[in-house]
Point group: C2
Chain length 337, copies 2
DNA sequence: TTGTACGCGTTATCAA
DNA sequence: TTGATAACGCGTACAA
């Protein structure tokens, strides 16, 4: 492995001259030596050791991407939403010259260990963190951290979110307009998950606006996995709930519900209308194609990266919230009753 | 940020003693000092700087994971197979105490730059590399590299693959047993893609065994994306090909074909039988559920990690090929004619 | 324009 | 059992 010194020796100059060439400080080097050094670098296939560089300079050019949640998941990357978002962010970051270290640990403390271990320039949390975890992380953070889909009650962090209230409201209103009155809400509803809480609030608002009474029985609390959807779908088909439609907080859950219902003889949309959330590619793959609340994953990734870059460049940016819009994507899983 | 020196100063001992405690060399330290130091580490929340460590020690505890291919992809992580495989590998590696740097660059040279930049302990290539790229990479590799789904004509690398010939053979034979005689092959067929070539060979072998003639017209050469499948499906429905069944080299492509056929009035499996490849979760989400050749992603990930670990531990292991078995997963997309 | 000396945080060696 | 010192590869400050 060629080092700076090797190149310097070969060129008969000091390490400093080589360093200047590498870092593009061409004004400080004569054209002749510059060319010589450039050729040598090519010949030796020299690549700087970034560990060494990050030791002296403050920047490591590493961004940590963390996926962790209480919601049990064997493999975060079987979730198409998470995967797609991750891929978009990775691409954006790489184009800006950063390396990415991923970690899917369930343990929040690993986040701060990671950032200290490698002196990362920034961190992006891809999955929902409850507020206590968030506070814990922020309290001993030493670099900018962007949270996607997390609550920020104290508004003291960098967060990217979507208009969850509007999502819940829009979906529910759409169902109501189609004549539905008995509409269930299915998702991972919990006190410390503001995302789902807001969607639920939107759902309630639409119900109230239409003068439709709400009862606890309409809340189907569940993890958002395909398998959980199957069970719920079967229950629905077996008339465990008295409903004609269900708004779910994730496409993958909706797909499971549709399948479960079908297994027990309840056909979507004829016997049951379903609306999802996310607008994954998956929505077009299934039958019937899933009507859903669409969030723009690319836009979300881009907003997260922009915000992180801003915060890295400017120390003073340490709390800011970006809320992205959502809209209904009409397909085939809802029927007029 | 507390450093080794900070802890040493606080404890009134040398850095070396602290280092020994951190690295578990307890025999070299008195019990009393050990406890003192451990407490201090806890109090200061000390975490070692791995950049510094990797400068001195040979190991960086970083594994690079590279996704790159000529096959155009905006975002590798929209491919469920790739995502799932990546997630499995990440988990396995993390459990073994490694950090992961991901890179999705299209440029092969970035792979070697990455490995030099960070002095990675090993690299895993997640996507197919043609043999020339592979040779290029291997020629200036300085650490163990495992290739998944790549050809290794010279058998001089570490590779993980599946029995592609058997996959093609089994699928085709299955179709033949169901009475099909006009069977197309759809996939990214190219000279430098041994994977697909082998599947095609298996396909040919089954045809030959049954005495069914093959013609070039049965080869549908295409990128393996959903959108490409749509086009092919439409073509099939429009009788561009004279076939009753198609074996595809990827589930996502099969799903597209089914949809495209349907758009033009050709219903699977009644009018057309389709077999996929991979056995993604997606197969169960679609209608009809997709019959496919199943490869065990978890097993593949595990084999890749095991092989890499072996190679890291033992310099002498620099070429070895692991071939995993495949099998038919029967669902609903094939009919008896 | 070029070179020297030092420090970044850690570990290995060797001596005490 | 402990500690002093050199070394890893690079960048910055300063001097020539």
């Amino acid at each position: 492995m060629a080092t700076l010194k090797d190149i310097a020796d070969a060129a008969g100059v000091s390490m400093m001259t080589v360093s200047n060439v590498i870092n593009g400080n061409y004004k400080k080097v004569s054209a002749k030596k510059k060319k010589l050094i450039l050729d040598l670098i090519e010949e030796y296939q020299y690549v700087p050791n970034l560990s060494a560089r990050s030791l002296t300079s403050k920047s490591s050019k590493i961004i940590g991407i963390i996926l962790s949640s209480g919601n049990p998941q064997e493999n975060f990357f079987t979730n198409p939403y998470t995967s797609e978002l991750f891929g978009e962010i990775e691409t954006l970051l790489r184009e800006k010259g950063y390396y990415i270290i991923v970690s899917t640990s369930q343990n929040i403390d690993d986040a701060s260990t990671l950032s200290k271990n490698w002196n990362v320039d920034g961190v992006i949390f891809l999955t929902h963190q409850d507020s206590s975890s968030m506070q814990k992380i922020l309290s001993n953070s030493k670099c900018p951290m962007v949270f996607i889909d997390s609550n920020d009650p104290s508004a003291s962090a960098l967060t990217i979110g979507i208009d969850d209230f509007k999502g819940g409201y829009t979906a529910t209103k759409y169902l109501i307009h189609r004549g539905h009155k008995k509409i269930a809400f299915a998702g991972y509803y919990s006190d410390d998950n503001a995302i789902i809480f807001q969607r639920h609030r939107g759902y309630l608002a639409a119900l109230k606006e239409a003068g439709i009474p709400y009862s606890e029985q309409l809340l189907i609390n569940t993890f958002t996995r395909y398998e959980d959807g199957i069970i719920i779908g079967r229950d629905i088909a077996n008339n465990k709930y008295d409903i004609t439609a269900v708004f779910t907080t994730a496409d993958i859950l909706a797909v499971g519900i549709i399948e479960g219902a079908k297994l027990n003889g309840c056909i979507v949309p004829n016997d049951l209308s379903v609306i999802g959330f996310d607008n994954l590619k998956l929505c077009s793959y299934v039958t019937p194609k899933l009507t859903t609340i669409s969030q723009n994953v690319h836009q979300k990734a881009s907003a997260a990266v922009d915000l992180l870059m801003d915060a890295i460049d400017d120390e003073s940016i340490r709390n800011r919230t970006v809320i992205l819009d959502v809209q209904l994507e009409e397909r085939q899983s809802v029927i007029h009753v």
